[in-house]
Amino acid sequence: MSRPSRWRLAVMSVVSVTLLIVLAARLWYVQVDTGGRYASLAHQEQLRTVLVPPVRGQVLDDTGRPLAANRPSLVVTVNVTELSRQRDGGRAELWRLAALLGIRDRLLQNRLRLCTALVSQPCWAGSPYQPIPVRQDVPERIGLQILENQEQLPGVAALVQPVVSYPGGASAAQMLGYLQPITAQEERQRHLRLTGLASADLVGQSGLEAEYDADLRGVPGTQFVAVNAAGAVTGTIATARPVPGSDLVTSINARVQAGAERALATAIHKARAEGNLGATTGAAVVMTTTGHVIAMASYPSYNPAIWTRGISERQYKELVDAAGGEPILNRAVQGEYAPGSTWKVTSAAAAVAADYSLAGPYSCPGSVRIGGRTFYNDNPANSGAMSLHTALVASCDTVFYELAYDIWRRDDQKANVVTGPHAPVQKMQQMELAWGFGKATGVDLPDESAGTVPTRAWLYRFYTQHKKLWCRQGNQFGSYVQRIEYQDCRYGNIWEPGQAADAAIGQGYVTVTPLQLARAYAALANGGTLYRPRIGAAVVRPDGRLVRRITPPVAGHLPVSRQVLAYIRNALADVVTQGTAASAFSGFPLSKVCVAGKTGTAQVAGKLATSVFASYAPCVHPRYVVVMMIPDSGYGADVSAPAVRQIWDGIYGLEGHWAALTGGLLPSGLPRLITRAPASHATAAGRRTR
């Protein structure tokens, strides 16, 4: 070998070794000196946080029977963004998917469109970036086909998700409420941890599901998954389990609820069968005298399961269609009806408060003339002089007309004529407000109606709101309504004696919700304590641990002495035995269960009377209150009272009914719940569309 070669080989060796040392030095810098930085960079790069939807809590009745349960369901979702990326906008794919799912192509497309002011259900209310559930309870076979044909169906996923089910069907539908994907607005307001999976990010939109959403929803788990450069999940690094939602134990008794609904429906069907075709809606409330709601029926009802399956346009229209009775309304808290004679208990209490004696005597003529109008009693004959007891038992309207007129006359006349926003409240209305009317009860349900107690201040507000309308439509020589409007246009702001008289028997402007009436009677029955009604009884962890008990808070006390309340209760007991409800309760085993109550037949212009019956039992130490209101149906004693009797039968197991409450008593403690295993729905979120 030549020398220069050797020399140059030596140089080359030095160069080669130097190169390798440079590599090692650089490696030390990259891996050890700055390795930590790269490692954390890499960590962000490869890890994705996936929120795992928690299992939503159940709504249970007082014995632990589920009213709204959760079950796993295979859900097919479509990623619209992915769909629109295809050449034909995903048209062919949707067609394939519709065929696979066995639904019409048109329906599938409708479910994927976004809800706007002009586009109503079926449509998608959530974010367009979330996968949209198009079908639930998909057979496993079809789910597998979808997963295996991803190249044919990009953006379509099949995953297991908990789905709310309603074992009771349409029972208590409005009270339970429904779940819908969270809207962008709610998302901003509530700062919830969301999974990003639309079908899992449901929030209660009405009823108990909305009211107790925070308890029921649970906390999503966090799953750190490793993803590859393409975004596909390659493995799970760490999992923080989702915290399942708590169960809500309610004071609702599913059997009493079912019984109340059946009785209500029967009463309405019967009224219609008798030709009272206006009878299409109604509500009933069963509650304890301590403020817990046992049943809350609203007719018509619907099966809330239609929400979970992706509601169709027709179904949604039916829900909000006034002609169809608007089944979405919970009439027990949202229906405002004239209470009729059931209202007289407040009027009697107001009379005593205004220093009228209980014994009277008060005359009960067939009619009285007040403020230029003639007011008739239901019974045209003169019944002679009577005490307030008899006036309540026989439901003599004229006694209360006169009482109201007298109170009106003795009141400040200037305040009657010049009403304003701060006009003083008359004695009658003071008492009505004190019984909890005219304002929301504060029940644990959203969107409750307040009802109306026509105070002078209320009248002023009402007048300023409607003056224009009345003046436009009123006609001095037109129909009855037009004549009233003509008058109202000119004198509508004046608190007339006729209005005071009407209000005294629960007519005219007076409206109440069935729940308001029920809790007022509960206060009457329990000795004067007015509660904020509660449907929830306890929030319980899925493992059975009690989170909190829910007891109805006290809203106030009736400004009525115990003696007066007892006097009124005595009268109400006689209503059932010998008064207006005697015929409805003839043959009822009052010796077993003494029921006391008051009928109400509120006349409404242009319609049949609102049939009302408010009752409680037992007569001594009352436990329960049952109230029913059916507008446009007829006499309280004819329509509602027999239905309420049916409800009492069901509660106590009388007259051939099964007792819903054993021994007429509610369960003493909380139900022992079957411990739910914290079900894992990791698979649902673990799979992500690319």
């Binding site: 070669s5 080359m12 080669s16 990259v30 390795g35």
Partner: protein, 446 residues
């Protein structure tokens, strides 16, 4: 001639060869000193010598002799190569396992293929290693022609494009051959042949020899550049330059050549001979953040993967970035990122060390080779491995632009593995030849 004062590391080697009496004189220099390009097929037969010649006559004894020949292998280099190959198997498996599982395929597919590559490579290495290296000299024009034909075939309809470079020939049965890998061998052999047989009095190649070598190299480099394979082109240029330097060409000629090369590079720049994507790669190297999704992506991801390995690594098969397929081509050109993340600094340095052993042993073999051809071949191979390793590892840790060069013995790929193993075989062949000198051996042990 100046007084020889060797580099200390080579002192004992020189003793061994020097004492044998050759004095650096190629023992076969008289056999085929045809000069210039030998006419094809017109080579005078190489007369068999020593045991090899005897074996021809007594074929029955051959296996035994072969075993003896195996003992003459450079087992240090061979062990390093085996170590690298096995490490490569593990890393290839780790790099492809997850993706294969996700695709529903056998997660060991690539491992099995690479194992086959390794076994074929080892067999070829043994075969070549057992050849007399003068045979290599004899066949070098053939190898050169073969490389040229292969590179031409790439441009024909047989060629296949991958990642913008038309560098592969598809063969029936799903096999793919990358002729540019063999072009490295062809170029080394041919250049060594041309520059190793110089007729000048001082045994230094003159301008005519260099000119012939350049003339031989230009078509090869040109064809590779036409694929275009920037990395291989650069490597071949460095190889050619290294061989010219190693051959003992006078410094003034070297200076002239250097100036000419500089002119060519400038010309290429001015005439926009570089493809846009190649330019982009080069600029992305300067500023990797500029385009994280494109050219800089590989570099940034590779650095991140290696950086997250830390001192000891995540453990084999436990690399998260590896499992996520974040680094493109992580089983071939970017296999070192897998080593970096999973084996950490320690493992990565061991790989560099093994490559260093192969390179240093190749240089030793070059220093000890009993003819200039052997020196140049072994030296060329050393340059090849050193430069290719440096470029490959360098691009993963951000000191060299990203180009498509595999890591010798480690990256997945049949052509590369076989070419690398053939080169090791040649090293063995050259090593065997000089290590069979008994005097040197005894003299080496005072």
């Amino acid at each position: 001639m100046r007084k020889s004062s060797g580099w200390p590391g080579f002192a004992w080697a020189r003793r061994r060869t020097g004492v044998s009496g050759f004095g650096g004189l190629p023992p076969l220099s008289g056999l085929a000193p045809l000069g210039g390009l030998p006419p094809l097929g017109g080579l005078p037969p190489v007369r068999p010598r020593g045991s090899l010649g005897a074996l021809r006559v007594r074929p029955l004894v051959r296996p035994l002799a072969r075993v003896r020949s195996l003992r003459q292998f450079d087992w240090v280099a061979l062990s390093a190569v085996l170590g690298l190959g096995v490490t490569g198997l593990l890393l290839v498996s780790s790099a492809t396992r997850v993706a294969l599982m996700q695709a529903g395929a056998d997660p060991l597919t690539y491992l099995k293929k690479q194992l086959l590559n390794l076994v074929i490579g080892l067999i070829l290495m043994l075969t070549v290693g057992l050849l007399d290296h003068r045979k290599l000299r004899e066949y070098s024009p053939l190898a050169y022609i073969g490389a040229l034909v292969g590179l031409l075939a790439v441009l024909s309809p047989l060629g296949t494009s991958v990642n913008g470079a038309r560098a592969w020939i598809s063969l029936p049965g799903g096999f793919q051959v990358e002729p540019s890998e063999y072009a490295k061998l062809g170029l080394i052999l041919m250049t060594a042949r041309v520059l190793g047989d110089v007729r000048t009095a001082d045994r230094r190649p003159g301008l005519p020899d260099v000119a012939i070598a350049l003339a031989c190299a230009v078509p090869v480099i040109g064809l590779v550049a036409a694929e275009p394979a920037l990395g291989v082109t650069v490597l071949l240029m460095i190889l050619l330059a290294g061989l010219i330097v190693l051959s003992g060409t006078r410094l003034r000629w070297l200076a002239l050549l250097g100036a000419a090369a500089g002119g060519v590079v400038l010309g290429a720049w001015w005439l926009h001979l570089l493809k846009p994507y190649q330019l982009q790669r080069l600029t992305a190297f300067v500023n990797p953040g500029a385009d994280p999704s494109g050219a800089g992506y590989s570099a940034a991801q590779a650095k991140m993967a290696i950086g997250s390995g830390g001192l000891l690594g995540q453990g084999l098969l436990h690399g998260q970035l590896v499992a996520g397929n974040f680094v493109p081509e992580q089983h071939t050109d970017f296999i070192f990122t897998v080593a970096g993340e999973e084996l950490g600094f320690v493992g990565a340095v061991i790989i560099i060390g093994l490559l260093g052993i192969v390179v240093v042993r190749a240089l030793l073999i070059a220093a000890r080779a009993d003819d200039q051809f052997g020196t140049l071949v072994a030296g060329g191979i050393a340059i090849w491995f050193a430069v290719q390793s440096f470029i490959n590892i360098g691009m993963t840790i951000g000191i060299v632009p990203v180009t498509g060069l595999p890591l010798p013995f480690v990256s997945y790929g049949g052509s590369a593995m076989i070419a690398d193993m053939l080169a090791v075989g040649m090293l063995q062949s050259i090593h065997r030849r000089q290590s069979r000198v008994p005097v040197g051996r005894s003299a080496a042990r005072p």
